[in-house]
């Protein structure tokens, strides 16, 4: 589509880059919360054209990365339960848990299926009426509607052999926790475009209102990200932090009310553990009592009490923006995409994987 590919047009990018260079600001750290943005920023080459005073910092917006080892171990334990088919999005398969990954569990004979969609997980349950299909539900607000829709469809179809192991998380409590910890200095935030397509742009208003931090909701094309960066620098330059939305072709102030309504119908917030953060109140999604029959946690009694982290892995600090991947001693040495020690090197949108792919040799 010409209209959408125009957002990659380098001729259109030049004036925005020039605007960015004319902005009169001191050194600025802009955090992109979303791992998809991290990858898009690297892939576009945008880091190379920004003024050196503008530093882009990756945040915790990678659901695979912030999943705790205890939660991953629980999914692996479910996969080991006789009669269970564990269905998971592909991103999670190679992440090392405390003892092994889902991929290794599969190699040991567990029935683990990669699905692209919850629709595929429902189909699995219909095809295997003698098995229990457990969907390992990871993701943020963008992905939660698909999980809610699956539960509602399972009920409508009378599926008794389908359940969810929900480790889904909410980005606003996560962002609040990050800023509350106070160990990273962020001057501006690029807000996640697809999370915001569901919850709306407005929930991000707490950043300017409570923290004086400007936020620009952005899409994932180079021009989206440049326009968002220019807008953020403009707000810093004029000392007027606000919420702007440079992704208006997708994101509405109120979001997708139907999708978010379905999420709230099926799930309730709960305290949950994020890698690198510990417990964050009301930052996870658990099935409501009315849908308890679809909750794998209640259907199977799985206890995981021996979760451990790899001692050398510093994914937690990478996710908080306290260090960048090259600061980690095992980055690109003991920890590579082939032999990852932590999730940020596995996930296609993990910071470590992005640095490894795009910036390993530049020393930055």
């Amino acid at each position: 589509m010409n209209l959408l590919s125009s957002f990659r047009d380098s001729a259109r990018a030049r004036p925005i880059i020039e605007r960015i260079h004319r902005r009169k600001t001191g050194p600025v750290t802009i955090m992109e919360f979303c791992g998809g943005h991290t990858v898009a920023i690297f892939r576009s080459g945008m880091r190379e054209v920004l003024p050196s005073r503008v530093r882009m910092l990756s945040g915790p917006g990678c659901p695979v990365c912030v999943t705790s080892n205890a939660d991953l171990d629980r999914a692996i334990a479910l996969a080991r339960t006789p009669g269970v088919i564990l269905a998971s999005y592909g991103d999670m398969l190679r992440v090392p848990g405390s003892h092994l990954s889902l991929m290794q569990a599969r190699a040991q004979g567990c029935h683990v299926e990669i699905v692209y969609s919850t629709l595929d997980a429902l189909a699995l349950a219909e095809q295997h009426p003698d098995k229990d299909v457990v969907f390992f539900a990871i993701g943020f607000e963008t992905t939660a509607p698909a999980a809610a829709a699956a539960v509602l469809q399972a009920r409508a179809r009378g599926l008794k052999n389908f359940s969810l192991c929900s480790v889904m998380k909410l980005t606003i409590p996560g962002a609040r926790a990050l800023l509350g910890m106070g160990d990273v200095n962020v001057d501006a935030v690029i807000g996640p475009g697809h999370v915001s397509s569901i919850i709306g742009a407005d929930p991000w208003r707490f950043l300017p209102d409570e923290h004086g931090i400007p936020v620009a909701i952005s899409g994932f094309e180079p021009l989206d990200l440049l326009a968002a960066t220019d807008a953020l620098l403009g707000m810093i330059e004029t000392g007027s932090p606000d919420l702007v939305n440079t992704y208006r072709r997708i994101v509405k102030p109120e979001g997708n009310r139907k999708a978010w309504g379905l999420v709230q119908e099926v799930f309730a917030p709960r305290t949950t553990v994020w890698r690198g953060f510990g417990e964050i109140p009301d930052s996870g999604l658990v099935l409501r009592e009315e849908y308890a029959e679809f909750d794998a946690e209640r259907r199977f009694s799985i206890v995981v009490d021996d979760a451990t982290e790899h001692p050398a892995c510093r994914c937690g600090e990478v996710l908080r923006g306290v260090i960048t991947p090259p600061d980690c001693a095992v980055f690109a040495t003991a920890c590579t995409p082939e032999h990852p020690l932590g999730p940020c090197m596995v996930s296609s949108e993990g910071s470590c994987a992005a640095y490894f792919q795009y910036q390993r040799h530049s020393g930055a």
Binding site: L3, R12, A146, A149, P192, R249, I250, A259
Partner: protein, 90 residues
């Protein structure tokens, strides 16, 4: 994980499903979480098999027009009042 891609709606089907063209590949997706109606030839944003939003082509055009204004200003080398964030993004 939040990767979502534009797809052109080809055909509406039963059970809130639709056939879409996803970068040259045809695929059936769900419209169950989409707010409002969509028609063939419109573009939707697809995430994990579900359309999550209709792409607003008018807004896309408006944003691109704004970028053209940036260009026009550059050509006139007018820098003065151009520091503000465009109202169109607010």
């Amino acid at each position: 994980m939040c990767l979502a891609v534009p797809a052109k709606v080809l055909e509406l089907r039963d059970n809130q499903m639709a056939l879409v063209d996803l970068g040259g590949t045809q695929r059936e997706i769900s419209l169950m979480v989409l707010d409002g109606e969509v028609a063939p030839d419109q573009y939707v944003l697809v995430h994990v098999g579900y359309a999550i939003e209709v792409i607003d082509e008018d807004e896309a055009r408006r944003t691109l027009e704004l970028f053209e204004e940036f260009q026009a200003l550059d050509e006139r080398e007018s820098l003065g009042s151009d520091t503000d964030v465009p109202d169109a993004f607010r």
